[in-house]
């Protein structure tokens, strides 16, 4: 049994306002990421490679709020966060507030595999990238006309929810491979018009990203501050492991009761040790996709 699920952010995306053309674009982007990750699993690849590949594709796709096309800070720059976790030995790597790394998820993976650390931030993370022979890119690589427009709207105090998955968008993937290993990955540009240096839940192990073999792998999207306080991703795994809840119940409870109780909204994708996929959200929509070796394949918004 192997399975993968991805998300491209949750938020208020009124169906009626999502033009057919745009919807087509998102679906195509989700499909490309889902199928690339799934193809790796089908060839016997690891869940770690599958989630890295899926997230990398979403980072490169300007429709989603991560990598190229990330939301902009109040200073008009992109500041990126990402994390990856390997459920096998609870290894993890994360970066926050990087401005010149094309694929933050790859740097997060490098932190996990080539450093003694889990989290590197800011200029120090970029220094590590250079030490690891990453080529840095100028910050304008990430900026797109749509994000610029979105930032200006936000700064004028207008709501811009219909533009593109933005204000609370994030991308992520969770997977189970044929050897029973779980992995999770999340990458984001954070909130539009955010204060420089603000870090959300995505790169925080336990909050936006978590994986533990035999229990579950989780990636979150939504209002990051609430997900940090609720330790959302690990909370789902704790509810499964310590209370014996079914993965679906655990996700529902964390999302609707714990996060809902705090006043936070968003979405979670999770895969269990048995390959069960759960995708749930408390917002109007969540860009998502799931595929498994049992023949399931779906993309939804």
């Amino acid at each position: 049994m192997y399975a993968i699920a991805i998300h491209g952010g949750a938020g208020a995306v009124p169906r009626a306002m999502l033009s057919a053309l745009r919807e087509q674009r998102y679906r195509a982007g989700l499909e490309a990421a889902l199928d690339a990750g799934f193809a790796l699993l089908a060839r016997g690849g690891s869940s770690l490679d599958a989630v890295s590949a899926a997230v990398r594709i979403l980072e490169d796709d300007p429709s989603f709020n991560a990598g190229h096309g990330a939301a902009l800070t109040r200073d008009g720059a992109a500041e990126l966060d990402a994390a990856i976790m390997d459920g096998r030995q609870l290894r993890a790597g994360a970066v926050a507030s990087v401005r010149h790394v094309k694929n933050p998820i790859e740097l997060a993976r490098r932190v996990m595999e080539k450093s003694r650390h889990v989290l590197l931030v800011g200029a120090g993370a970029e220094e590590f990238a250079l030490e690891e022979s990453f080529v840095l890119v100028p910050n304008h690589y990430f900026r797109t006309a749509e994000r610029q427009e979105q930032l200006e709207c936000e700064q004028r105090g207008e709501r811009v929810s219909d533009l593109i998955p933005g204000a609370q968008g994030t991308v992520g993937a969770v997977a189970l491979d044929g050897e029973g290993n779980l992995a999770a990955a999340t990458s984001t540009g954070g909130m539009t018009n955010k204060r420089p240096g603000r870090v959300g839940d995505s790169p925080i192990i336990g909050a936006g990203t978590y994986a533990k073999n035999g229990v579950c792998a989780v990636s979150a999207t939504g209002h990051g501050e609430y997900f940090i306080r609720a330790v959302a991703a690990h909370h789902v795994c704790a509810a499964v492991e310590y209370r014996g809840l079914d993965l679906q119940q655990a996700v529902r409870e964390v999302l609707h009761e714990i996060l809902g109780g705090l006043g936070g909204d968003g979405g979670l994708i999770a895969v269990g040790g048995d390959g069960q996929i759960v995708m749930d959200f408390s917002t109007e929509g969540m860009f998502r996709g799931a595929r498994d070796s049992g023949g399931r394949r779906e993309i939804a918004i």
């Binding site: 650390h117 931030v121 120090g124 220094e127 204060r195 240096g197 870090v199 940090i228 330790v231 909370h235």
Partner: protein
């Protein structure tokens, strides 16, 4: 049950209630000044006395706040602030230096009532990182601010920045030189756990709070962030379960979400606080991680455990307990 009997019972409950309310609610605070800091063989009596005095000052200042009806949030802030200002501990002034010779500071605070949290990481010019973490919690919509952005927020909040030189002490400069020399000799050496400071408390209103502050690891890579400012890893508090502050090899604490895991075991497995702490420290040892935690629950029970050589720690509560210890034998 018949109606008169029920009424009689209700009356009894009403009569009994004030009697129970007379008993004051429990107060408790625990602090740590780092795990595995100093080899007992190298600890001179003067050093030991000096560390004890530093711990006692922080412990008693925090407890005095609780005793005067103050909040657990104020108590942990005060205790951590005192240890940040004390150059013996690895936080604030006297923090260890990174590879570039700078102190790079991380701190987090969490209020179990809400719960809400604030944290900063990678700041280099903020005298009391714990106070900035608290401002992030109270004056911003965010939880975590890092590096220059966090310092920008400090300035916006009227917090004066200090030169980087303020944090550097002669002892830490020597430690860095030693670490660099050793790094040349044995490249694969894993970093030993270093001191970090933290506090957890329960106040008279039944609210729990936790706070942690650190300079991280000597000779660390610029930008490296450990568990201290990570909510759930090095710091966590929830009025429904417990408050925890950790110290040790941060990367292991992050991967195991140590602080939250203890509270999850209390809440979901109904373990006692001591059992939960013991279990998580056992898991930590199993994965090769070294360190310790202090924790307090809503009943005022304090648990302090570690798998390193020692942990500088102190505990005080309204039942008369007051102790300060450094090594396993409670000395």
């Amino acid at each position: 049950m018949s109606r008169p009997k029920l009424l009689a019972l209700l009356c009894l409950a009403v009569v009994c209630a004030p009697a129970r309310a007379v008993e004051p609610p429990p107060l408790a605070i625990a602090i740590h000044g780092g795990a595995g800091v100093i080899d007992p063989a190298k600890m001179t009596p003067q050093h030991a006395a000096s560390y004890r005095a530093g711990l006692a000052a922080a412990l008693d200042a925090g407890y005095a706040i609780l005793e005067h009806g103050g909040s657990s949030l104020d108590a942990v802030t005060a205790a951590v602030r005192i240890m940040e200002d004390d150059p013996q501990f690895n936080a604030g002034r006297g923090a260890v230096l990174n590879h570039d010779g700078d102190a790079e500071l991380d701190a987090a605070i969490m209020d179990g009532h809400g719960p809400r949290a604030g944290a900063v990481a990678g700041v280099r010019r903020v005298r009391n990182p714990i106070e900035l973490a608290r401002l992030v919690m109270e004056k911003s919509p965010h939880v975590l601010l890092v590096a220059e952005g966090a310092e920008e927020f400090a300035l916006e909040q009227g917090v004066a920045l200090v030169p980087r030189e303020y944090f550097r002490t002669e002892a830490r400069v020597r430690e860095l030189e030693e670490a660099r020399r050793q790094a040349g000799e044995l490249k694969a050496a894993a970093p030993g756990p270093t001191g970090t400071v933290g506090a957890v408390a329960l106040d008279g209103a039944g609210h729990l709070a936790a706070a942690t502050s650190t300079g991280g690891l000597t000779d660390k890579h610029r930008g490296r962030v450990g568990d201290s400012p990570i909510v759930g890893a090095g710091t966590y508090a929830d009025d429904d379960s417990c408050a925890v502050s950790g110290t040790g090899q941060g990367e292991f604490f992050i991967r195991q979400v140590v602080a939250f895991d203890i509270c999850a075991l209390v809440l979901y497995r109904h373990l006692t606080l001591a059992q939960a702490v013991h279990e998580v420290i056992r898991k930590l040892r199993h994965t090769g991680g070294e360190g310790g935690v202090i924790a307090v629950d809503r009943a005022g029970n304090i648990a302090m455990d570690f798998n390193s050589v020692g942990m500088f720690r102190g505990a005080r509560d309204s039942r008369g307990r007051r102790d300060i210890a450094m090594y396993r034998d409670a000395q």
